[in-house]
């Protein structure tokens, strides 16, 4: 039977044999204390200002700030990535756009043979 608890025990035993049992037990105890604390006082651990009441101007300010800063990495990567992409594919893209421009011009002039 493959139960996670037994796997954990095996891991503990392995650590114990390596002389790291104390570190492992300390981690388990602290994790248990933290989880208990989170279960007992959930209100004090609310970390998301945008999830609170938006009637409060301060919360509204945090909300706008979070939204703005969330958008920035995408903007930066988009712009830098876009610039690099254009540098590497500029000639190919301009050739394609010239082809399409020619096609549209021919179509408008009624000279499209196809």
């Amino acid at each position: 039977m493959n139960r996670p608890f037994w796997g954990f025990r095996a891991q503990l035993a392995s650590l114990y044999s390596k002389g790291q049992a104390k570190t492992c037990y300390t981690t388990v105890v602290w994790t248990a204390i933290l989880v208990l604390f989170m279960l007992i006082v959930p209100t004090y651990l609310e970390a998301c200002p945008g999830c609170k009441n938006l009637d409060d101007p301060i919360n509204k300010g945090f909300n706008w700030s979070i939204l703005f800063m969330m958008a920035m990495p995408f903007t930066v990567f988009g712009l830098v990535g876009g610039t690099i992409f254009l540098h590497f594919n500029g000639n190919r893209l301009s050739a394609i756009s010239n082809q399409w421009r020619l096609k549209v011009r021919n179509l408008l002039a009624g000279r499209d043979k196809r």
């Binding site: 300010g61 700030s65 920035m72 930066v76 590497f88």
Partner: protein, 196 residues
């Protein structure tokens, strides 16, 4: 031999220097977005802006508006400098670089005189959130303009020494990117800090 020559003359589509400046600007953008984020918290978080303790202090909107126009003009002149070196017009490059540098220094001078006036009126870094965020945000940008002006002067010196040509102008290229970034950032800060 012919293959070696081809390898020498073959340049990558994006030079390392240009890529480095792009990465630097990415980091700069994140720095300013953090500062703007902090400003938004204070600006939206306060029902009255400026806060009641700073009611009498008015930011010089009109003069800064004119200053904004100067900086935008410097963006245009820098663009012209870049265009000139691409056409191998070194004389034109020097002229446009000089004009850009003068405009940049003029912008910094007007900013400095504004700051002196504001400090005399009681708006200091320690006077509260309003003063703190104003000087940190605008000061950070002014520092960037100063860096850009120093960079521009170095590029101007290199242009005078005849180090640039239509085939070799990475220095002008990178400086132009940085300058355009500094110029493009300012209107956003102006609208946020002075007008909203």
């Amino acid at each position: 031999m012919a293959q070696n020559n081809a390898e020498i003359h073959e340049r990558p589509p994006l030079s390392n220097a240009r890529l480095a400046v792009l990465v630097l600007l990415g980091a700069e953008t994140m720095l300013f977005s953090g500062l703007i984020g902090a400003f938004l918290v204070f600006r939206v978080g306060n029902v009255t802006w400026p806060p009641p303790s700073h009611i009498g202090i008015e930011l010089p909107r009109v003069i800064t508006g004119i200053n904004t126009a100067l900086l935008l003009l410097s963006g245009y002149t820098m663009f012209q400098a870049h265009r000139a070196i691409r056409k191998d017009q070194v004389q034109q490059l020097r002229r446009w670089l000089l004009i850009t540098g003068v405009l940049g220094l003029l912008f910094l001078g007007v900013q400095g005189s504004e700051w002196v006036q504001l400090i005399r009126n009681g708006l200091t870094l320690q006077s509260g959130v309003y003063g703190g965020i104003f000087y940190v945000l605008i000061g950070c940008h002014a520092l960037h303009v100063l860096t850009a002006v120093i960079w521009l002067l170095v590029v101007y010196g290199m242009a005078v020494a005849g180090r640039f040509s239509a085939q070799r102008y990475v220095g002008v290229d990178t400086c132009t990117i940085y300058w355009i970034f500094v110029v493009a950032l300012w209107p956003i800060l102006y609208v946020l800090v002075y007008l909203l």
